[in-house]
């Protein structure tokens, strides 16, 4: 219950998900009974903590079907994972090196976390940043793919599922073209990992990032998966404890993956919580979660279509989209919509959802976004639709 006596209707799961009890309990249990630093403590508790931390890596590897557990690197969040890639590519030598005349391709529907690191990289290296545009119905415009992804392309980085438009992108198809020209493929799976069964190899990714807090895990933990050959070629990101093989005053040699990219004490209990989270999702079944998401999204699209003056941004076919639905309501600003909905216990997001270019593409400055997850019920969608009707009457539109 929230202030005002309304039950919570949480429709902001694309922002962050709510946590199942097992995740909370696992984290509390770890802190109460197994807390020590990992890898460097020579005592029983240290062994327990290391075991819990490394078994979380196994769970994540299984969750994304990684060929090897060592290819799973823990980061702080998806943003850090993407920045890790863009930064180490800036320092890379050999095949992966990026320089003047080279091109990096992204898309117009990226989250800022998958735009800004590439802007920084291309600016620093004198390379060129290019992007796939969007069609009016919110899909990637692939009509110029063969020109856009060409022999100068070194990296293609794209989101699997859009956090604003909900669009599910044909990642494997784009990866095929990228690999034809020798580019590496970076996939932002922040919105895909919560909703779709993920198989990193089938997706065609060379590197793939997601964030723990959107897959019912805690904040403070993210994942970067990479193909071993690519990770081995990339130089270290941060220097410090754990990432070394040996250190002398003149120079050091580095640990192998994954530790090469995990300097310092990692987010231990967060990783343990993430392990419990992905196990929870796997036990429910990602196929079942995906089916639920499509059903709720379809129901929501039908309900939203009954609200006069409401326009959905992005694909209208629930089988082609994820669970985030952004929309506009004639005559009422998203901020005001969110405020009125909040007064009825309904939590949505208002603003640009860290996707300003995608909003600009559709000529809107901001939108309201509802996003569902495995715990969302049709009754909650009904509450949203009623809340939107109430919003229209409150602002005397229509």
């Amino acid at each position: 219950m929230l202030a005002g006596g309304y039950p919570l209707v949480y429709l902001d799961s694309a922002n962050t998900s709510q946590k199942p009890q097992v995740v909370i309990d696992t984290m509390v249990d770890h802190l109460e009974r197994h807390n020590a630093n990992v890898a460097r403590a020579m005592h029983q508790l240290g062994a327990e903590a290391s075991e819990a931390f490394e078994s979380a890596r196994d769970k994540v590897a299984a969750f994304i079907k990684a060929p090897s557990r060592d290819e799973v690197i823990f980061t702080k969040n998806a943003s850090e994972a993407l920045n890790l890639v863009a930064n180490t590519l800036a320092w890379a030598t050999g095949d992966l090196a990026i320089g003047a005349g080279d091109e990096v391709v992204i898309t117009e529907m990226e989250h800022h976390s998958n735009i800004v690191p590439w802007q920084l990289l291309t600016e620093r290296k004198g390379a060129t940043l290019r992007w796939f545009g969007l069609t009016d119905d919110g899909h990637l415009d692939l009509s110029n793919i063969d020109e856009l992804v060409n022999e100068r392309t070194k990296v293609v980085s794209l989101t699997w599922v859009s956090n604003m438009l909900g669009t599910v992108n044909p990642v494997a198809e784009i990866a095929r073209r990228a690999h034809e020209v020798g580019a590496i493929v970076v996939v932002d799976a922040s919105q895909a990992a919560p909703q779709l069964p993920v198989d990193v190899v089938a997706a065609g990714a060379d590197l793939l990032a997601f964030t723990g807090h959107k897959v019912v895990g805690p904040t403070g933990i993210g994942v970067l998966w990479g193909r071993r050959e690519v990770l081995d070629q990339l130089p270290p990101f941060l220097g410090g404890g754990e990432m070394i093989e040996t250190v002398r005053m003149e120079r050091s040699t580095y640990a192998g993956i994954p530790h090469k990219f995990e300097a310092g004490t990692p987010p231990i209990v967060e990783a343990v919580g993430l392990g419990a989270a992905v196990d929870y999702l796997s036990a429910v079944g990602m196929e079942a979660i995906h089916a639920h998401e499509q059903a709720v999204t379809g129901y929501a699209l039908e309900g939203l279509a009954t609200v006069p003056g409401l326009t959905v941004l992005g694909p209208l076919d629930p089988t082609q989209r994820g669970g985030a639905i952004s929309f506009e309501l004639d005559g009422v600003h998203p901020h005001d919509i969110a405020q009125v909905l909040d007064s009825r216990g309904i939590a949505v997001r208002a603003g640009h959802h860290c996707a300003k270019p995608a909003h600009a593409r559709f000529g809107v400055q901001s939108s309201t976004r509802m996003s569902s997850y495995l715990y969302t019920t049709p009754a909650e969608i009904d509450a949203l639709v009623e809340g939107l009707e109430y919003t229209r009457s409150y602002f005397k539109v229509g």
């Binding site: 202030a3 600003h333 405020q339 007064s343 300003k356 909003h359 400055q365 901001s366």
Partner: protein, 150 residues
């Protein structure tokens, strides 16, 4: 939050200014133009200031944003246009104090006029930035003009 809180936030005066904003549109002449953005929500204002000696002769603006930010720009122009710069800055201070008071400051209608309608906004920390966007833009632009004339 209750319905009373909602009604305290969305006073009639605010909704009136939102639907029929005063002094909106960009005009000549002006000595400074600024562009301010609320990075969390994307609300934007482009604002021009025209000073005539030490008098705020005109403030014109173009903006996109929520009812609170739009109404606040409208009320702000009503309050500062035609005043001496130091008087207008004092009103700015008074409005800032009201907004930052978390609902504990009693607004002075003699000074703030329609601005008192924003007292309810102060209880919504997420919306205070909306109410302050154009005021901050005005202060910034005015400071730029003053600097140049020195």
């Amino acid at each position: 939050m209750t319905n009373q809180d909602l009604d305290a936030l969305y006073q009639e005066i605010i909704l009136d200014h939102y639907k029929h904003p005063h002094h909106k549109g960009l005009r000549e002449p002006f000595e400074a133009e600024v562009h301010h953005v609320n990075p969390t929500c994307g609300d934007e204002v482009t604002l021009r200031v025209h000073l005539d000696g030490d008098v705020v002769s005109d403030v014109s603006y173009d903006s996109v944003g929520c009812s609170i930010s739009q109404a606040s720009a409208s009320v702000m122009t009503d309050l500062v246009i035609g005043r001496k710069v130091d008087e207008a800055l004092a009103i700015h201070e008074e409005f800032l104090t009201l907004m930052q008071g978390r609902g504990s400051v009693e607004p002075d209608e003699d000074v703030l006029e329609d601005g008192i309608a924003f007292a309810g906004v102060a209880k919504f920390p997420a919306r205070v930035k909306c109410a302050l966007l154009s005021w901050m833009a005005w202060k910034d632009a005015t400071a730029q003009v003053m600097e140049e004339s020195h």
